[in-house]
């Protein structure tokens, strides 16, 4: 039954996507009327949407993993990404390290930060009321923002690295940074999937979210599993930072611009459901890209949020979430 249900949802989504594609069947551009399906710029937009989806998928992956396993929502997740972006910026621009080692340091630091967040804060709240968990991680959000403001100032910084773009066809240009981000995200999602399904540790991480207490009987130390998950989640935030820092400026409040989207993706996909989150990321990115193409980029976000709200009425448990 579950499988059929999933199939029906995916079919519905396909219809919605197609409707989005064709929701303005003809476009008036500079006096000419262009039929949408033959419009190369539309295809360029959709490709960019797809590439953006990869980054959003990666961004929500760590958050989803942590929620799925530990059952605590890290409100401060995007701020971990922000700190990762600063780490890369400082290593590369200030200390003059090459880009790749800078990124590795960024990932390592956010992994340590994820570990520390769990060890210092979440560990003491695992069995607390959800509201207290939210308040604690919400407090961390402001702590990280303020700490970053004090340490780095409020100036917008960027790496000053431009990877340029290449021509896919005569008319369609694709940015290397976005393509690299998409490819990395795809590899990571696949890698995480294999880790979670093929290894003992990965299987244990999935199992612990289904029955915490009984894992002890299997010889699994719950606390250690949580610390490892938090470190992996932090590392994924660092990886997202690597991809974002190539395309966006860093400032202490940059987390606010993609944190809410990351949360909505997780919720839309079904909190803790990684496949659902993955699909949701692409729906969001296409809505943003297509809305931005037909109207303004702000309208893209409006469409995405409206879609989110409507879906919350139709399927409050998320696309692939379990009904409870």
């Amino acid at each position: 039954m579950g499988r059929l249900d999933t199939g029906r949802i995916l079919a519905t989504l396909a219809v919605i996507m197609f409707a989005c594609l064709a929701y303005v069947p003809t476009i008036v551009r500079e006096g000419d009327i262009v039929f949408a399906l033959t419009d190369v710029y539309l295809y360029e937009t959709m490709i960019n949407g797809l590439l953006l989806g990869g980054v959003l998928a990666l961004l929500s992956l760590g958050l989803n993993l942590i929620f799925g396993v530990i059952d605590v929502v890290w409100i401060c997740y995007a701020e971990v990404v922000m700190l990762g972006m600063y780490a890369i910026f400082y290593c590369h621009t200030v200390f003059g390290l090459p880009l790749i080692p800078s990124m590795m340091i960024g990932i390592a630091l956010t992994a340590v930060l994820g570990y520390a967040i769990h060890y210092l804060v979440i560990r003491h709240l695992v069995n607390a009321q959800p509201i207290n968990q939210l308040l604690a991680t919400g407090g961390l959000l402001f702590f990280f923002q303020s700490a970053a403001t004090l340490a780095f100032g409020i100036e917008f910084r960027n790496l000053g690295v431009s990877l340029g773009s290449f021509a896919l066809t005569q008319d369609i240009y694709v940015s290397w940074a976005r393509l690299a981000a998409f490819a990395t995200a795809a590899i990571c999602v696949l890698g995480l999937y294999l880790f979670l399904t093929r290894s003992y540790t990965g299987t244990a991480i999935r199992a612990i979210s289904q029955d915490r207490e009984i894992m002890t009987l299997m010889g699994v130390q719950q606390g250690r599993m949580y610390l490892m998950t938090s470190a992996i989640g932090g590392g994924l935030a660092g990886l997202a930072a690597c991809l974002l820092v190539l395309q966006y400026d860093v400032h202490p409040f940059v987390g606010l611009s993609f944190g809410p989207i990351a949360f909505m993706i997780c919720v839309l996909g079904g909190l803790g459901n990684m496949v659902g989150g993955f699909i949701a990321a692409f729906i969001f990115s296409e809505l943003i890209a297509l809305g931005g193409y037909h109207f303004d980029i702000e309208w893209g976000y409006v469409f995405a949020f409206v879609f989110f709200i409507v879906m919350m009425f139709i399927r409050p448990e998320g696309l692939l979430g379990k009904r409870s």
Partner: protein, 234 residues
């Protein structure tokens, strides 16, 4: 093999076990019987470390269980099949069995033990890729017992294996306990199905209101007037 002496335990301010002394010798099958709420499940949970013992001593093959962290109990050769089976419902049968072999010394022999479990429960081989939550009650119990066997235990703790199963299935579960005993496993079993369990075990303890009231061979207890009246409805 397993020895408990003067064990007290409970939840918060509620004490569930008082001064429990019990022994399971190598190769034996021992049952703990008693009414609902007598503390039978608590006893099992204390042995496997899910609830700390407040006082008393517990040893497994002369190793101190009280000082062993809960997640290391399984390394001493104690596998616990919990009440209500507690499978991972959204994982396949084989992934559930894989979790049973999580400890490093069991991982090395995963393939071999998987064959052993599949030979014991051919049904599990057929359903290896099915989600555990979709199995029938009897199949879930087999999967739970199989999961416990994957760690290669010396002592198997079974908590109410027949609970919630149809009479025909209950028969089969007790039959399986006989088969498991033939494989040189020591078994400690908690059961409400007193009449049937006394046919597969060597000895039994009667637990009432957290204290051990009686003990004896399965034969003695099935002939005991009080046990027959209170627990067998005869």
């Amino acid at each position: 093999m397993l020895a408990l002496s003067g064990v007290d335990a409970g939840y918060g301010s509620f004490q569930a076990l008082f001064d429990c002394t019990l022994e399971v010798r190598t190769g034996e099958a021992v049952a703990v019987i008693g009414p609902n709420g007598a503390g039978k499940t608590t006893l099992m949970r204390v042995i496997s470390g899910l609830i700390p013992a407040r006082s008393g001593t517990m040893t497994m093959q002369d190793l101190d269980l009280v000082a062993t962290p809960p997640h290391d109990i399984i390394r001493l050769g104690i596998a616990h099949v919990p009440e209500n089976r507690r499978l991972f419902p959204r994982m396949t049968v084989e992934d559930n069995l894989r979790m049973g072999a999580y400890i490093p010394m069991a991982r090395a022999r995963f393939g071999e033990r998987l064959e052993f479990v599949y030979d014991l429960f051919p049904r599990m081989r057929e359903r290896r890729n099915q989600l555990a939550g979709t199995l029938s009650g009897g199949e879930q119990q087999m999967c739970a017992i199989g999961r416990a066997l994957m760690s290669g235990p010396k002592l198997l703790l079974l908590d109410e294996p027949s609970a919630g199963l149809a009479p025909v299935v209950v028969e089969r579960i007790f039959e399986l306990i006989r088969v498991i005993r033939e494989r040189d496993l020591t078994v400690l079993i908690v059961e409400q199905n007193v009449q049937q369990v006394l046919q597969v075990v060597d000895r039994a303890y009667v637990l009432e209101a957290g204290s051990i009231r009686m003990s004896g061979s399965a034969r003695e207890l099935s002939d005991n007037e009080e046990v027959r009246r209170l627990y067998m409805g005869l």
